[in-house]
Amino acid sequence: MNFDQARFSRDDEYEPLLSEKDSTTVEVDSDGVLPDDLTRDELTLPALSEPQLARHYTRLSQMNYSVELGPYPLGSCTMKYNPSFTEDVAADPNAGVHPDRSDRTIQGTLGLLHGLQEYLADIGGMDAVTLQPPAGAAGEFTGILVAKAYHESRDDDRSEIIIPSSAHGTNFASAAMAGYDVVELPSDDDGRVDMEALDAAISEETAALMLTNPNTLGLFERDIVDIAEMVHDAGGLLYYDGANLNALLGRARPGDMGFDIMHYNVHKTFATPHGGGGPGAGPVGVVEELAEFLPSPMVRETAAGYEQYEPESSIGKVHGFAGNWLVLVKAYAYIARLGDAGLADASAKAVLNANYLASQIDLEVPYGPFHHEFAATSGDRDAADVAKRMLDYGVHPPTTKWPELVSQAMLTEPTEVEDKASLDDLAHAFNAAYADSDEALETAPTKTSARRIDQVSAARNPRLSWQALGDGE
């Protein structure tokens, strides 16, 4: 497959900035509206017509890769196809209501939220689910606050959260934000939780162990039942990071494995679009014993209809209102469209795709058996350079140099939406880039809108707005 990304350029710039197309200063005349000293004097912004803006943004869109253009196998990101109809459903004018509306007048909205709470509880094997956290990391933070509230309710003061070294960076940051010390757990030779190290790490200070399963190498933590027992025996809770749930749909549930708290990344597993970095949603499920601590409000069904309520010992709020509503609507629609059979098939195909792709690439995959993702190594070649070269073959490269357990890691998650031909294109990109000359790797990419970008100078001399570019730019 040949690929050339669109590139609009002139002189030493690609598409000009809005501010370079127009910069208009208007004087703010507040006469008769507000006293002069309460208003600003002037405002400078681009004043452009709609046709100019349409062209600006359309050109920029063409200088942006997306999952509708080709494979996007970023490990632990689950870049699957986002069904078009879910956008239309979320845009239903009846679906856009204000959070101050009374329950009685928004039964449709509350019905959807209640339905999604139930879907997610069933899928995760949990007893209660809050939809409020607006992202995966916010879900982690919420879950850890629930754990903290639980321990505090028992007058049990605990100070530590145990996290495997291969976990997502957000786990560490979320635990720290909740005020816990982080105890980092090494992996064993098989790439899984080191049971001896875990035994040594667990103590009466352990508030929770945060685990991703399958882990970030795609490996199922086979000792999960023992792990749960060890953590529970010490009075701790077990937290499930849902980033890799796409591997398990219909085959295993965190609740059945002994997890007490979990978050779901609906922008991963349930196909809501990533939108260039968000919005997502990170609902949190808990077992019965923890339900009273969930954020407020929750939605329940009564004889009179759906109503919002505050759980008895609620931790309070983790979002100003009820989270990322539009994202939740899309997730609901996706789950309802696929049903049991579709969800189970999605996981089967996601795991098959990862295994097939791995069988077709020349790079070594040191750990297995893996599920929906695998960590290949580019060996003595720089993984970041190989990734840049892959761009020239018209695919998005995997996550690089992470997890650190694998040197020069290329963490790859093709998801279920790629067919065999697309996986063969991906494999070709891997193999061709891996075999290319040093020069080809170092000068890559050459087919993308921009060539290799100097990240170091961007950080050394931060220019973060068009105002900072000055006239000399």
């Binding site: 600003r40 912004l45 943004y57 253009l69 956008e87 995966g136 939108g275 970008i453 950080a459």
Partner: protein, 447 residues
């Protein structure tokens, strides 16, 4: 199993043909995809979720039916979640799949388009706030406020205390989020009183001390009051080596005093009022600050660099602040953010341009004033309650019970919020202004 829309078995979005699946299984060396699952029998799930698959058309109909259970009321609601008319261009272009279905820009060479939009968004915030650093987004105003408090606390590690002072009139969602974010840092929240709907600056002066790391004020307040003594509040904070954090929103910033000119160190607030419309509280948090706090900023930043062809290019930058590099020492745990909402907001601002943006903000003052005056003419009604300038919304005192009034108004097709037994809050924007006559008439009937 055959692929295609309407298929009842399997995911309609997994495109494998039988022949392909066969060939792939052969290549892997297993008989079935089930053989690839390395899950111990004791934790295998053999049950069902009980969700039937649905075809697209029937599901769309079912969801339209579900949403039709929401009563069609014209909303005069605000309190931190505001809607303005969103132009078609925003829906149309933001839904281009190149934007909508892309990931965070970890490979900037292939993501210049989105990076440039985010850079332009940051730049518009810089213009509106007068502060030189703005990030690409926080989840909402509440989490942005909480992150500002954490930033203030990191900057003031040497302070003798860890207190944040917030106004008596603060949205309960913002206060709740702030409490949760500050708990882990062992910070505390102090509340200062309002006087006739605005900050009681004299009492605040008694409360600010060297244990204070941040003073937070809003304009407009959650009750729609335009704060008149921002510079005094800022001075109080700075005299005590505390940061001054100002909460506002993008439309208000186009008209009101520039935050930098009144001494704001951090500006937070809600931006979803432009670009998003009414979305059950979903929003976009703005976060802008001074250059000297750059390395303490939470969230993503887009910067300018050059590529190997010596062309100007955009990239995420200063990522060593972030969780994927710094882990538990990161400035925040935020990863997934509101990038696509920021894109929509930037498009909406660009569509308005400076003239119409200022007009929209001006209208928010005059429409609120006019509507309050009309309600004030009704017997048993005082509007606005506070003798202040207002932005978009205002409090109404009613002799009759407020909850009963909102109930009766709902019966006439209008949603208005009851603050307590004798106070309502009414919000007017270009999205509902054409229904103002109807609201006034309905009001007259129900009181």
């Amino acid at each position: 199993m055959t692929a295609g829309n309407g298929r009842r078995v399997g995911s309609p979005y997994a495109p494998h043909t039988d022949a392909d699946e066969e060939a792939m299984l052969d290549a892997v060396g297993v008989d079935s995809a089930e053989d690839l699952f390395d899950i111990p029998g004791e934790v295998r799930f053999d049950g069902e979720f009980g969700v039937d698959s649905a075809d697209e058309q029937e599901l769309r109909n079912a969801m339209a039916d579900l949403f039709s259970r929401n009563e069609e009321l014209t909303e005069f609601l605000g309190r931190g979640h505001h809607a303005h008319y969103v132009p078609a261009l925003v829906d149309d272009l933001s839904r281009r799949s190149e934007f909508l279905t892309s990931y965070t820009q970890y490979q900037p060479e292939i993501a210049q388009g989105f990076l440039q939009v985010l850079f332009e968004y940051q730049s518009m915030l810089v213009e509106l706030t007068g502060l030189p650093v703005a990030n690409c987004s926080m989840y909402d105003a509440a989490t942005a406020l909480a992150e500002a408090a954490l930033l203030a606390n990191r900057l003031r590690r040497g302070a003798s205390g860890h207190r944040v002072l917030v106004p008596e009139h603060l949205h309960e969602g913002r206060l709740g989020v702030l409490e949760n974010y500050l708990d882990g840092a062992e910070m505390e929240i102090g509340e200062y009183p309002m006087d006739d709907g605005a900050v009681d600056v004299e009492t605040l002066a008694d409360l600010v001390d060297d244990e204070t790391v941040m003073v937070y004020a809003e304009t407009p307040t959650v009750r729609g009051v335009i704060e008149e003594r921002l510079a005094d509040i800022s001075d109080l904070a700075h005299d005590n080596d505390a940061l001054f954090c100002l909460g506002s929103d993008l439309v208000a910033l186009a008209l009101l005093e520039e935050p930098a000119s009144v001494g704001a160190d951090v500006v937070v607030g809600e931006a979803g009022a432009l670009g998003l419309g009414t979305a059950y509280g979903m929003g976009l948090g703005i976060f802008a600050t001074r250059e000297e706090y750059l390395r303490q900023v939470p969230g993503r930043l887009v910067g300018v660099s050059e590529d190997s062809a010596d062309m100007r290019a955009f990239t995420l930058t200063l990522q060593t602040r972030e969780q994927h590099i710094r882990k538990e020492r990161a400035t925040s745990n935020i990863c997934t953010n509101q990038a696509w909402v920021a894109l929509r907001t930037a498009m909406h601002m660009a569509w308005l341009g400076p003239d119409r943006l200022v007009d929209l903000a001006t209208q928010a003052v005059t429409d609120a004033r006019d509507l309050a005056a009309r309600l004030d003419e009704l017997s048993g009604v005082k509007a606005p309650l506070y003798d202040r300038h207002h932005f978009r919304e205002f409090v109404v005192r009613t002799d009759q019970p407020a909850p009963a009034i909102t109930n009766d108004l709902a019966g006439r097709g209008f949603a208005v919020h009851a603050l307590d037994d004798h106070h309502l809050q009414v919000c007017i924007t270009d999205a509902n202004a054409d229904a103002a006559d109807g609201l006034v008439a309905a009001f007259e009937e129900v009181i």
